[in-house]
């Protein structure tokens, strides 16, 4: 246990901060409870998927600036396809859009590998390309989402046999997030592909010498990022009920969450849980600031300060952890 805590000091610290913030929230707003948790989870969803997407490529030693744009493409595609179509058709739409995301990610990855242009430049260029594609699909916010899809995010999970007073603490959106991430992440971590992603991020020359097909793994990592981005785009459509072609504020947020979450820019180190917890922390900070009815301009200052201070404390803890 101690050994685990020490080797995961960053994650432990993040959880501690999250717990602290939850307590703080309860103090500020004594009524904060299940419904607050529900809206927190719903708010965190798109950020969480964006962070997951960024996490994969950052671990692989890259960076993807086109995540928010890919989310926009998948969001408008889903909204346009579901507009005026049947509820069952939406199942096909979901599958299609997930494939589309993986395809876009694959294109990003292939371009990086084939052109040998640095990741940041390629994905910067693709940021514009995917944005353009989203605009071509939908000129202005519009489209629709199937009701059952929208319903997936609303309210608590109901499990027969378990009293509502318990299930109320399990918002469907949180469960959806956990399921979607685990379905992809757990097999990923167990597979040789997952190892290879860490390997190329850690030291791509050594990985090549060990027998990793560096380029193929890189493309795979980007494809996976595309898949997560598609999930993010889908939840955007599910929560707003429409598709919007302008990318939301998910790019910088995803990078911030990844760094806060203890994933090392440059590759090779970190996991998925850290960035996800970081996303929840950032969302909860915003909730608290709203509850406190702080002057909106001060809010921005407070948000910036908290972000910096959290990382500073994290850094100090990390140094302590290493010393002891």
């Amino acid at each position: 246990m101690i050994r685990f805590l020490r080797s995961h000091y960053w994650l432990t610290g993040l959880f501690a901060i999250l717990a602290l913030l939850l307590v703080l929230t309860k103090i500020i707003q004594p009524e904060y409870g299940a419904s607050g948790l529900d809206s927190l989870a719903r708010a965190a969803l798109p950020f969480a998927f964006a962070a997951a997407a960024q996490t994969v490529v950052v671990i692989a030693g890259g960076i993807d600036l086109s995540i928010a744009s890919m989310m926009a493409v998948t969001s408008v595609t889903a909204a346009v396809m579901m507009d005026g179509s049947s509820e069952q058709y939406a199942i096909f739409v979901v599958v299609f859009v997930l494939c589309l995301g993986a395809l876009m990610g694959t294109i990003n990855g292939l371009l990086i590998v084939l052109t040998r242009v640095p990741d940041i430049v390629v994905t910067l260029a693709m940021l514009f390309v995917w944005e353009g594609v989203a605009l071509m699909i939908l000129k202005a916010p519009g489209g629709a989402a199937a009701e059952w899809l929208k319903g997936l995010l609303v309210g608590p999970l109901s499990i027969p046999g378990i009293p509502a007073s318990v299930t109320v603490w399990f918002p469907k959106s949180l469960i959806l997030l956990a399921v979607c991430l685990m379905v992809v992440w757990i097999p990923f971590r167990r597979s040789r592909f997952g190892l290879s992603v860490y390997a190329i991020g850690s030291n791509s020359l050594a990985a090549f010498r060990t027998g990793v097909a560096v380029n193929r793994v890189k493309v795979g990592a980007y494809a996976m990022a595309g898949l997560f981005a598609a999930m993010g785009g889908l939840v955007l459509t599910m929560s707003t009920g429409i598709g919007a072609p302008i990318p939301g504020p998910y790019l910088l947020a995803s990078v911030a969450a990844v760094v806060l979450g203890g994933v090392v820019l440059g590759g090779g180190r970190g996991g998925l849980l850290g960035p996800i917890v970081a996303v929840f922390i950032l969302r909860l900070v915003r909730t608290d600031l709203t509850f406190l009815a702080v002057d909106p301009n001060i809010t921005t200052i407070v948000e910036g300060t908290i972000m910096v201070v959290v990382v500073m404390i994290g850094g100090l803890l990390a140094v302590r952890g290493r010393r002891s």
């Binding site: 860490y198 050594a206 027998g211």
Partner: protein
Amino acid sequence: MANEPLLEASGVVKSFGAVLALRDASMQVAAGEIVALMGANGAGKSTLVKILTGAIRPDAGQIRIRGRDHRVHSPAEARQTGLVPVYQEPSLIPDLDVAANLRLSETPVEPFLKWVEELGISGLRLDEPVHRLPLATLRILDLARALASEPDVLLLDEMTAALPTDLVERVLKVVRRQCELDRSVIYISHRFSEISSLCDRATVLRDGLTVGTVDVGPGSEERIVEMMLGAPVKSTEEIVRATGQSLPVQTQETPRLRVRNLSSGTKLSDVSFEMRSGEVLGVVALEGQGQDELFEVLAGFERPTGGHIEIDGRDVRFHHPADAIAAGHVYVPGDRADALLMQRSVRENIALPFYARPARWGNINMGAEKTRVDGAIDRLQIDTRAQGEVQRLSGGNQQKVTIARWIAAGVRTLLCFDPTRGIDIRTKREIYPLLRELAAQGSSVLLYTSELEEVQLACDRAVVIFNGRVVDIIDAQDADEPTLMRAAYGLTNGSAGERAGDNAEEPRP
């Protein structure tokens, strides 16, 4: 070895931009044979290994295995054809643990562990992240991994350079056993003792050209050296004797460096010794006895948890390497990658310490810089053909750059951690006199070396460290290999601690 060669390379050419690394390299290896690949730093040995194992592609040339054309595009493919390398740089993934590294290379765990044991590493944890392991262990793991895949041809590129003597013995034993199984080994090392005890033949490269193959036997060493360097050379002893007469010791003189009861963490406990100006003091220790920590404390990287450091009789405390440097303590680390800016030029690497202080952040006097840098390059005879980026230099030349920097910047106490690791015989013959010369000019040198024979060649005295303590201090003339070895294993007769303590108080003449 009359039978058809297992591996045959001929006419291999490879250039890196302007640098022609291999002009016309060729070699043959028969089954069950251990062939040494010899050559000075930058001769092209590593390049040839990389080409044979598919890590880079040759510009021209032919490679055959069992008479068939051998075209591999990656080390993974090469492994399938039975060619398994241990490259000069560690090839494990630093951020993964050992087990994950094995899974990644599809190495069976059981044989791997067996080899690790056999190679003398005990208590290896498979869930340990690789970046926490010491360099020597990494080299052993690299080798164990290669052995576990039961290669037909094992290519070892300076496998032993970073290893302490005890581990080297183990490695040699294991490698020797390979040929009993009718497997072949291509063995690269700059240590002739290893070559003569291990190899059947030696293929010699000079400037990317295979200049010949020699059967290894008594007296072949001189021939090999001559072929490597293209000219007959004086023996090491001659050179060292010529420059390095031990100074008469004046007991009254305040020592340049005096270390009292120094400790750091769990590894270093209670080390005391003195070093005088003009002295080359050797440090001898087995792997992981606290020598790393000693050097880090003396160089200002770590703060000691106890004890005192005195320079010229004054107590000092280093909070940062800069403090140490200001006090004239400079450090040449064992791993050159720690010290170099691989993408920058030789010149910038050497000049780096000049500009460390904010007062020197301004304009650079390019002329004066060039003079100083060129002086150091000349003095160490650095091959600067690929000077635009240090990463293009061969390993040995990189090592020289790390020393040249301090020759140029000025030094009073040089802390050298295994400076001849991976350095060819010619360069070694330059470095020993250089250290002696520095000492003769009034500097002092603390020299950790993993090659025990160097102690007598370069040092005045040697401090032996075992389990974080000084167990013995031996004069150079008494420091033959068996004596040092025994001391290093903590087998000195008498109360070692007391003797060391006495020594610190009152240096022996």
